[in-house]
């Protein structure tokens, strides 16, 4: 049972609003190691330079999108085991199905509540202490 504060999270979204919302939710859940990146490319660079346990990423972003980021993570052994939760709009079932093919750990539909965020994270990391 990992403590939320021991898990480092990278939030990747081109919208500062969404990053802030996710960050705010994570903070309420006791997370303290939270980094942000504004697109998949910046996210990937951050992952390569900084140890990270969990990535919460948007799908639709400039430069490298969420699927691309997921694919790049899984393709690169040092970071391939990182948990990835994909943020998605409503009814983007097709997108999630594609993300499943690329090995996404779970998905999170926007807008979300802190309770849902917790549930989705716990499905990936196990119950948080």
């Amino acid at each position: 049972m990992p403590a939320a504060s021991s898990i480092s999270v990278l939030v990747v979204d081109d919208q500062m609003t969404i990053r802030s919302l996710v960050r705010s939710g994570l903070q309420q859940l006791g997370f303290t190691q939270i980094e942000e990146a504004a697109d998949g490319e910046a996210g990937l660079k951050a992952l390569i330079t900084r140890p990270t346990n969990l990535v919460i990423t948007d799908f639709n972003m400039p430069r490298l999108d969420g699927l691309g980021l997921l694919r790049a993570i899984r393709a690169h052994p040092p970071i391939s085991k990182i948990g990835v939760i994909m943020l998605t709009g409503r009814a983007d079932k097709e997108l999630v199905q594609r993300a499943v093919q690329f090995g996404v750990n779970n998905y999170l539909v926007k807008p979300f509540t802190v309770a849902t965020l917790k549930e989705k994270i716990e499905s990936v990391t196990g119950a948080l202490t």
Partner: protein
């Protein structure tokens, strides 16, 4: 502010950015750009607004953006061809979306009927496209979705912290004598376009020490797929340089850093860092090639994601009248995207404006303090070459630089005003039945935020005028041998410390006989007046000139150009017009870059030092006795060339003295007030021109008639800044001193007056 409210503020700020992106993207598409990245950006903008709106339960905004997004998704997927009609619809939808965002932000209402009609049009468009239904479902659509979350094992890879931390650090303590660096250098196409040469850079590296160079050709595609303009190669250089430090290595790449992926590590230092890092990131792992990784990932994803796109974009391309031109635009956009990419996303922080203004105030104080100090030192009789005086010179230089930099913080590109104009032009064109193309230039030109805010109304008014009055109807234009589509150009540029804004139209120009006749009818000029073309053109700025009696909802004709001129002048600006019959008119605005400092003429009046705003002064002259005529005991006029203007003694107007000195021993400043009226202001002497920091009298003391503001001069004295318009109206100032007069003002101890603020 609770955190959610703060995030909401961010959301609305981001919405503005996204709306701007949406509009510029749609306009680029309208101009024939079919680059899929632009279509994506347009889609993303609406998608992002919808996503954020959902988080804050802004239902109306979510509903409209959903319909809009659905249509854009079909455009993106190729089911809808973005022809001119579709783009016009999308542009109008963008306008409505902007209304929704603002209504959500400010709590106002949107025009429901219009929004509803627009949503229906979008739905009709989406319904017309193939497969329109799939994205249009409003509910979650995840009800029957079978998904098994994947757990991450935290045990499989050893836990990230403690165990790995201590031990290795000591082992890999860097040896001071043999520093070595691993440099990974992956040029982008832009680097080559700027005529940089990797070979030379590597040679430069070799000067620092011994190098071992490996080429990474893993990014090379098949020959058939290779784009000769693109960059595929990377280099891995191991540099052994006992004396160099990482900064020296970085310096080699100083000029190309934005145009390449560059990674410089010092393995000794790195392994120390890696020890604290989670074990996944192991320095001994094969080198990470981010670019190859990204390329790989994109290759894997894109063919699926955008499969329908190439085929579907074809019709749009064919429809574009000039394919090669469209391609040029696309390339241009790509180049821009590349520049953006190379520079990374711009690093910005959002700062409360009050903090910036406080800083500006403080820097103003600093400038004054520095000037006072310099003066004191000079009074002490120190030589200019003494080290103290020279130190002060440096200080002055630095203070000026600080002032400029701080002012630059408040500066913003005029884009925020300019970007409202395309919508305005669309709406007015639709209302007047004219065809208009708006061209904008110099949107990046920066000017103080306050100036920008107050520019919006006059610019709106002038653009309206240009279309409503300036441009002819399409039929008239064709008859006159001009293109049907009228041109309005809005341009901004910096010129000699001011910002110049031009509004140019290629319409009919000013109808001089008509303007002249109106001015005569309204009694503004005499029928015999002999006027130059220029003077006639400038009549439109006169109060009371306005031609129409009702305020049309297009031009606001009841308001007139005199209001525009007044608002420009209240910003310390000037407006001029030049016009050629049948060819169009050009309005030129010239504005100061900031309202915090003022170019002033420092003058002496009855032993007091005053500052007159330079923008109001036309010329200064020495009155000759024959030029002055007395009109009763308290009024006189002065002949300046062939006109007479009132002669006002500032000393008396402000109550400094009862009897005016002889005009011939004084200096007259010919000034022009905001209304265009002229007067000659009598002062004792001119001290010189100076830039002064404006201090509000109202905020620090109370309003004083005849005085606009105050400033502090280098010697620490307070000088009052004249309100030229107020002193030109003689009567109210001469009434019995019931209120505070400028006289009592000056008697007050100067410093205490300003410390309060």
């Amino acid at each position: 502010m609770d955190p959610l409210a703060a995030i909401k503020v961010t959301f609305f700020q981001e919405c503005e950015e996204q709306l701007a992106e949406l509009e510029s993207g749609l306009l680029a598409m309208e101009a024939g750009d079919t680059d899929s990245e632009i279509v994506n950006a347009v889609f993303r903008a609406v998608h992002s607004i919808k996503g954020g709106a959902g988080a804050f339960s802004l239902e109306a905004l979510v509903r409209f953006s959903h319909v809009f997004e659905t249509a854009l998704d079909l455009v993106r997927g190729g089911a809808i061809t973005p022809d001119q009609d579709v783009l016009k619809l999308l542009l109008r939808s963008a306008d409505i979306l902007a209304d929704h965002v603002r209504a959500a932000r400010d709590g106002g209402e949107v025009d429901e009927a219009r929004s509803h009609a627009m949503a229906e049009e979008l739905e009709a468009l989406a319904g017309g496209g193939e497969g329109g239904g799939s994205a249009a479902e409003a509910d979650d659509g995840f009800g029957d979705f079978d998904f098994k979350p994947l757990m991450v094992s935290f045990d499989e890879a050893p836990a990230s912290e403690a165990p790995a931390t201590e031990a290795p650090v000591a082992e890999v303590a860097p040896e001071p004598s043999g520093r070595s660096f691993i440099i990974r250098f992956y040029p982008q196409a832009a680097l080559y376009q700027k005529a940089n040469e990797p070979g030379l850079l590597i040679r430069e590296l070799a000067r620092l020490g011994e190098v071992a160079v490996e080429v990474d050709g893993s990014g090379l595609p098949n020959l058939a797929e290779m784009n000769p303009e693109d960059a595929y190669l990377g280099w891995r250089v191991t540099l052994t340089a006992p004396k160099a430090d990482i900064a020296a290595v970085r310096e080699v790449f100083e000029w190309v850093e934005g145009d390449c992926y560059l990674d410089i590590v010092e393995p000794a230092a790195q392994s120390a860092a890696a020890a604290t890092a989670a074990p996944e990131i192991d320095a001994t792992q094969p080198e990470v090639d981010v670019m190859a990784l990204i390329r790989q990932a994109q290759e894997a994803v894109i063919p699926q994601a955008a499969a329908p796109a190439p085929a579907s974009l074809e019709p749009a391309k064919a429809a574009s009248p000039d394919a090669s031109k469209a391609k040029e635009v696309a390339l241009d956009a790509k180049a821009q995207a590349a520049t953006r990419e190379a520079g990374g996303s711009p690093q910005t922080i959002r700062v409360d404006l009050e903090r910036v203004d406080r800083l500006i105030d403080l820097v103003g104080e600093l400038v004054i303090n520095q000037a006072m100090l310099a003066q004191r030192v000079a009074e002490c009789g120190l030589q200019r070459a003494s080290s103290v005086a020279m130190g002060l010179d440096d200080l002055e230089h630095l203070t000026r630089e600080i002032q400029d930099s701080v002012m630059a913080i408040r500066a913003q590109p005029v884009k925020s005003v300019f970007q409202r104009m395309p919508r305005l032009v669309r709406e007015i064109a639709a209302m007047t039945g004219k065809e208009v193309r708006l061209v904008m230039d110099g949107e990046g030109t920066e000017v103080d935020k306050t100036v920008i805010e107050r520019l919006s109304d006059p610019l709106t008014h002038m653009i309206r005028n240009a279309i409503d009055h300036g441009l002819e109807t399409p039929e008239e234009r064709v008859a006159a041998g001009k293109p049907r589509e009228g041109l309005v150009r809005l341009a901004a540029l910096h010129r000699s410390g001011r910002i110049v804004i031009e509004i140019v139209d290629d319409g009919r120009g000013i109808n001089r006989p008509k303007v002249r006749q109106i001015a005569i009818d309204k009694g503004l000029i005499s029928a015999e007046a002999n006027m130059s073309d220029d003077e006639i053109d400038n009549l439109i700025f006169m109060p009371g000139f306005s031609t129409a009696t009702t305020i049309s909802d297009i031009s606001g004709r009841g308001v007139g150009m005199d209001v525009v001129r007044r608002s420009i002048q209240s910003l310390g600006g000037r407006i001029t017009i030049s016009s050629r019959p049948g060819q169009g008119s050009t309005f030129t605005l010239s504005l100061p870059l900031t309202l915090a400092v003022l170019d002033g003429m420092v003058v002496t009046v009855a032993g007091q030092t005053l500052v007159a705003p330079l923008t109001a002064i036309i010329e200064s002259l020495q009155p000759k006795s024959g030029d002055v005529r007395q009109l009763g005991p308290n009024a006189s006029v002065i002949a300046i060339r062939d006109t007479h203007v009132p002669l006002i003694d500032i000393g008396r107007a402000l109550g400094y003295r009862q009897n005016s000195p002889s005009p011939t021993e004084s200096v007259a400043l010919l000034v022009e007030g905001e209304g265009g009226a002229r007067a000659a202001l009598l002062v004792d002497a001119i001290q010189g021109q100076r830039q002064v920091v404006i201090k509000s009298l109202e905020a620090n003391y109370r309003p004083v008639p005849g005085i606009a503001a105050a400033t502090i001069l280098g010697d620490g004295r307070v000088a009052l800044i004249l309100d030229v318009d107020a002193v030109m109206v003689p009567k109210p100032l001469e009434r019995a001193a019931s209120g505070p007069s400028a006289q009592t003002e000056l008697a007050a101890p100067a410093p205490s007056l300003l410390k309060a603020g």
